[in-house]
Each structure stands twice: as C-alpha cells, then as structure tokens.
Symmetry: C2
Subunit: 413 residues, 2 copies
C-alpha cells in the first residue's frame, strides 16, 4: 500500500526559529518513514490556493547540509501570509479547493507553523475535515516572539528574541554608561499585548550592571506621574537610568502611550511614532536630564546570528513531534512544550486541542510583575533564563552569516 | 635612569573597537618596556582634571585574560567625555593643571583614542607642550564608526559597524521578502555628514538578494521626485524594495530630510523624528504600497558580539603602534593605517601630523557614488569588503556575551 504524502506551510510574522521547525518536519518525514514526500506551500495557505507548491525532500536530497542551514536561517523559507480563511458556513469555496489539492497530492497530514492567527486556520481546516469526513491530520506548530500562545510553556522563536533583547540591553548599557552626566535611555521592545519579550530585558542584569533599572509591561497600566517619580528617585542615586518598555504600554483608560500625528515633516506629511519617543519627551518636559529613546526594531525577530540554541533545538523537535503525532492519528491539535523543571532545565513535548488555543492570548501573570508595576519578579527570571541558553555555530562567508537562499526571492539588476 | 610612565584616555562616541586600541596600548607598554606604568584617565581628559586616574597595568596583572576580554568589549572601559579644551591663548588654566598632573605622574607620553573632536584635543595639547618646551609625546589613536578622519585609509570601529549594518540589512531582507505583496522598507543608518557606513549596506548583497536596492548618501543631494521615480520603477519589476539611507540626507538647499515637530502625542508634547520616517510618509502619500521604516539604532556602534576581527586586530595594532611611535620621539601626530592592496588585503601602520587631521572630515568621494545618486560603485565595494572580514570568538555566559566590567559603572538596588 502506498504511503501518503504530507504538506507544511508557514504563516504570520517572522521569527528566527520558524525554519528550524520546518527543518524538523522535513527531517522527521525523511527519517521516520511515515510519509513519502513533504510538500511546502509557498506563502502559507495561499500557496495551496495559488498552486505554488514545492517538493521539500529535494532541498535535502540536493545537499544534506541544507537541513542544518535551514535550521539557522531567519524568517520563512516558504514565505508567509496574513490570510484569514472565511467561516466555511458562509463560504466554503477555498475549503473545496484546498481539500481538492490535498486529494490530488495524496496529502495525509498538513502542518501549519504559526502564531495565534495561524492556529485559527488550523482550527477551521480541522473542523472542515471533520465535517466532510476526511481523515487528514491537521496540526499546528507554534511560533511567535510574543510568547502568547495558550497551553504551551513557551513558543519557538521567543527564546531567540529574548536573547537578542537581553544582549542588546547589555550592549546599550555599555554604550550608555560612558559619560559622567545624568542620562535616561528608554528602550522600546516588541509585544503590543503581552509583556514577555519586554520582561526578557531583565536578563541583561549581571554582576556589574543593574540595567534595565525599570521595566514596564502592557499588563499593568502606565501612570505617568508614578513613572516620573520612579525616574526622579533613581536619578538621585545614580547617573544613568535605562528603562525597558513594551511598545504596547497603556494608560488607566486603556489608551496606548504613543506619539500622535505630527504635521510638519520635510514634506508636510503627518507622522506617527511610538511609546519610547513619547516617554522621551515626557521626561524632557519634566526633568532636566539628557534623554534618548531606542526602538529595538525588526532585528529582534530576524537576527538569526544571535539565536538561542535551546530555542532552535526545541523548534526543530516540535517540527519532528508534529510528524509523529500525525502518524499516530492526532489531529485538530497544536504541538506543545511542557516544562518539567527550571534547573536542570527539562521539557517534554505533547499536544493540546486547537480549539483551546486559536484566537486566545496568554498574558504575563500579575504575580510575575513587581507590585510597583516597574519590574519583574525572580519567578519571571527563573522562567526566562533557560530559554536563551546556548549559541549555534553560525557559518560566515565574506564577513556575513550564511543563510538559506529564499526560493521566492525576486532579484533585479 | 628611571623609565617614564604614560597615560591613555578615550573620548567621543562609542565604537566596539575602542577598547581594542586601549588593550593594544596596555599590551605594548607591558611588553616593549619603553614605559613603566600606563595610567588611564577616566572620562577622557576630564579624568586628569578631576583626579580620576587608574593604574592599567593592574587589570592585566590581576588576570592576564583581561586583555583579550577588554579587546572584545564595546564602548569605553575608561568612559568618555564631550569636552573641548579652550584655546590656551584665551585660558590656559586647564592646560596648567593637566601638565602638572603629567609631571606628578612622570608621564612621558599621552595617548588619546577618539574621533575628530578628540584629535582637536591632541592638537591643542601638542601645541601647548611645544610652547612650554615640554617633550611629552602626544599621540592620537583614531576611532569612529563614521570613518571620516583624514590621512588614514579607514578608522577603527568602522569595520565592525559596517559588518553590523550589512548583516542587519541581510537579516531585514529575509524578514521583508516573506509576503507576496508589494512593499518598501527604508533603513536609516548613522553618519550625518559622511556616507561610509550607509554605503556598507551594499555589502548585504549576495547571490540570491540584491537588497538594498537603492542607497542614498549625504554626499549627494536628495531629490524627492527622483526618489519616487526610482521606487516606482523598481516596483514595476519586483515586489519588495529595501532602501538604505543616511540619517543625514539633505535636499538641494542643504536642509535635512526629516520629520518636523509633531504636536499631539499622548502627553501633548512636541516630537521629532528622522529621515526614514519622513520617507516612509512620503511614499505612503504618493505610492499605494505597504511601507515601513527601520532605524538601525545605537547597536550599530555597540553590538560587540558581531564585530569584525579585522577591525579589532587593526585597532589593537594601532594602540601598539602609538606606543612605539611615542618611544621613537614622534609627537603631535595620529596613528594611520595605509592600505597596500585590496586583494590580498594588506596594510601598514604609520602616522600623520595632527594639524592636518583635527577638525577636518573625509567625505565619500563622488566617483564612488553611482551617477544616478542612488547606489555606490564597485570601487566602494572593493574598498569596504576587507574591513568586515573575520569573527572574534565571543565567550557567552548564561546565554549572553561576556564583556569587561566597566569600573565607573554605578549600581543600584
């Protein structure tokens, strides 16, 4: 009897670990023998709808080193999408087409690597399969730097982003402490609704530096008077204050702290800027001190040269686990990681029903935020520390990291 | 006869190679035997004025591994200052105090590691020494990520910043190319008056990616209509455009392209933002395409985990060279690096009179900028490529790079 094939796709925003999960899926298919070919749908679920599908066994057959190279490459080898399937009760035309493609390619399992929105796709495809009596296995593999997926201890991509944020804060501390004048540096970190990544800034503290000295998460409301008092108090004790804030800090009414529209740029256009800029000007207007703001930009999710080996290994293992689960008959689920202990750090992989995960978000628990709302607790540090451990051996060529060529990348010139 | 001592200090903005030059000075003093103790003035020349002086032989005597650790640590071990000495014809009180300190500590040579402003201090101290008939040797050791010092092929700190910028552009390319929709990403790079560092973005190009597709330096004037035409032309050929710009791009009248004051942030304060934001809104208002701007922030000058080994080695060698030059009687000079050939890359170290360097700046030559003003030429690539080669072996502890503890770093908690 012929073995079935399987298919994998990637969706949502980039992380540096999402290709490690893809590598895990490919590796498991090629070594476990439960499935024959693993196809890749380009640009998430859109690849199935647009007939843009690759044979992924080939990339390993061409060169067995490609699997390790893929594991270390940032963002999505298969590209991504921001596409939300309609409710099939309203419109089942895309579902018809997707399942016809599955049938044509003899697909027995579909793996979707993504965050909250992608898990909504896993849920809808699972429910549609059940409704039409198709026994294809639909399994989600988590990824998000926001670390906000339910039912799993943490998410692939988060540990590497946390390592990048902590290393950046340490390097910014060295950069900041050189002048013998009072200064405040505000560092804005991604995570609009969940403060996990901002909390990771605390990992920068070491035997000679307590930076960041203040940390503000979106889970507690931001009070500007309390903030200014915090800054003033610290400035009495020391010269240089470094503050980590989430891009999503909000006031008591729930409004985001950010800069509004400006009106007088070089071309007469309006502008928007973020929370750190707003706090920079808040301090400038109220405290006579040198202030600057730094936005830790997209590099926190794509700087693969500074990944966490722990994160990449776990992402790879969760890709492998998805293939095992599918061949055991599991469907309508997401792979999970369950922490057994912090020290020694041990985990095991499992799965949870997708209906308890899709469209939900996991916030930082109140108990892990300092009662003053301006720091995290030792429990948070103990939770975060294992996730940033270990450094992959990056290959450099001509002075730059070597990453996997992206197949859909357009050239010009 | 007793050997004299010497003194070293660091000044200006951080780079990741400035401690490598300090390590070179210390290493040369301890191995060549021309000077006895090497003192470090904390916070540049201010340390001499404020009696804040360290014995640097001790940090190596305490632990010989400290020299290598120092070489790999970002920013200034000795701290910095932004202090311009007055003209001694107007006021020689600081000069009197500085030279009294030199005499008290039996200082035979003073080394100042810094950029353009710091070379002004070297010039003034040299002239004052000559005037009072003091034979102390005053030597500048260059450093600046801007690469804008005269009389030297390039400056320590630039190669590492260039590597960081190129690696970031490559990682941003991976991050950007995942969606099958038209998009423009504008990346703003440091260097207000000189485009060297922005030019280094071109090194991100490889066999599968031509990003950045457009590059704008401050040396040619920025024309918004020509810019919009460049972007429109490219969007006809490909989906994703990545543009590298200097923070200092200017229009034909010499005005900086940036966002003006805004008026409606969360706290009712006014705001300023940069060139990339201004171009983001320019495109949004004129072309129907997804646009985002990314500011490569202070990490381009302090991300020591991604340094260029070539840069660190050259910075160290220039620190050593300064000590040799001083003991040979050279003064009123800056250490220089002279390129013998690009391939194989070979250099030799020399020196140049400080009066031809202080307060001057080296711009990118027009011949190295594409005639359309939107790219650099192959000559620029050939010049830049050797400078980013090689990766130092960074030690990690608990998931983060291990850097040298900064002695003047204040703690709290």
């Amino acid at each position: 009897m012929n073995k079935k094939n399987c298919m994998v796709a990637q969706s949502g925003g980039p992380t540096v670990a999402i290709n490690a999960s893809l590598a895990g899926v490919i590796h498991a298919v090629m070594t476990l023998g439960n499935y024959d070919t693993v196809y890749g749908s380009v640009n998430g679920i859109l690849g199935i709808l647009n007939d843009n599908i690759l044979n992924l066994n080939q990339i390993v057959n061409q060169n067995s080193a490609n699997l390790e190279k893929l594991k270390l490459s940032p963002a999505m080898y298969l590209g991504s999408c921001r596409f939300k399937l309609p409710d099939f009760m309203d419109d089942d035309s895309s579902y018809n087409y997707i399942f016809k493609q599955f049938e044509n390619l003899n697909i027995g399992a579909f793996f979707y690597i993504g965050g909250n929105d992608s898990m909504d796709t896993v849920l809808k495809l699972s429910e549609y399969a059940k409704r039409i009596g198709n026994d294809i296995r639909i399994i989600g593999i988590p990824k998000t730097i926001d670390n906000d997926l339910m039912m799993t201890d943490h998410t692939p991509g988060f540990g590497s982003a946390a390592k990048y944020v902590a290393a950046s804060l340490l390097e910014i501390a060295h950069d900041t402490f050189i002048y013998a004048v009072k200064s405040v540096t505000i560092v804005e970190i991604m995570g609009r609704d969940a403060g996990w990544l901002t909390a990771a800034a605390a990992l920068a503290r070491n035997e000679y530096s307590d930076a960041p000295h203040l940390i503000y998460l979106p889970e507690t409301y931001f009070d500007k008077d309390r903030f200014l008092a915090d800054v003033r108090n610290l400035l009495e004790k020391q010269n240089n204050i470094i503050i980590a804030i989430s891009e999503g800090i909000r006031d008591a009414s729930g409004s985001y702290i950010n800069a509004g529209e400006s009106q007088m740029d070089s071309f007469g256009h309006s502008q928007l800027s973020g929370a750190a800029k707003a706090l920079e000007y808040l301090i400038k207007d109220n405290i006579n001190v040198k202030v600057r703001s730094v936005e830790i930009n997209v590099l926190q999710r794509c700087a693969a040269h500074l990944s966490s080996q722990t994160d990449l290994d776990e992402a790879f293992a969760q890709g492998e686990k998805a293939v095992s689960l599918a061949s055991e008959g599991v469907t309508a689920s997401m792979v999970t990681i369950n922490r057994i202990s912090d020290n020694p750090y041990t985990v095991e992989y499992g799965h949870a029903e997708i209906k308890n995960i899709a469209n939900e978000a996991k916030a930082v628990p109140k108990e892990w935020i300092h009662e003053n709302g301006n720091d995290v607790t030792p429990e948070m540090i103990a939770y975060l520390t294992p996730l940033i451990q270990g450094e992959p051996q990056i290959t450099y060529k001509n002075g730059l990291p070597v990453y996997m060529e992206v197949p859909h990348l357009s050239r010009h010139r």
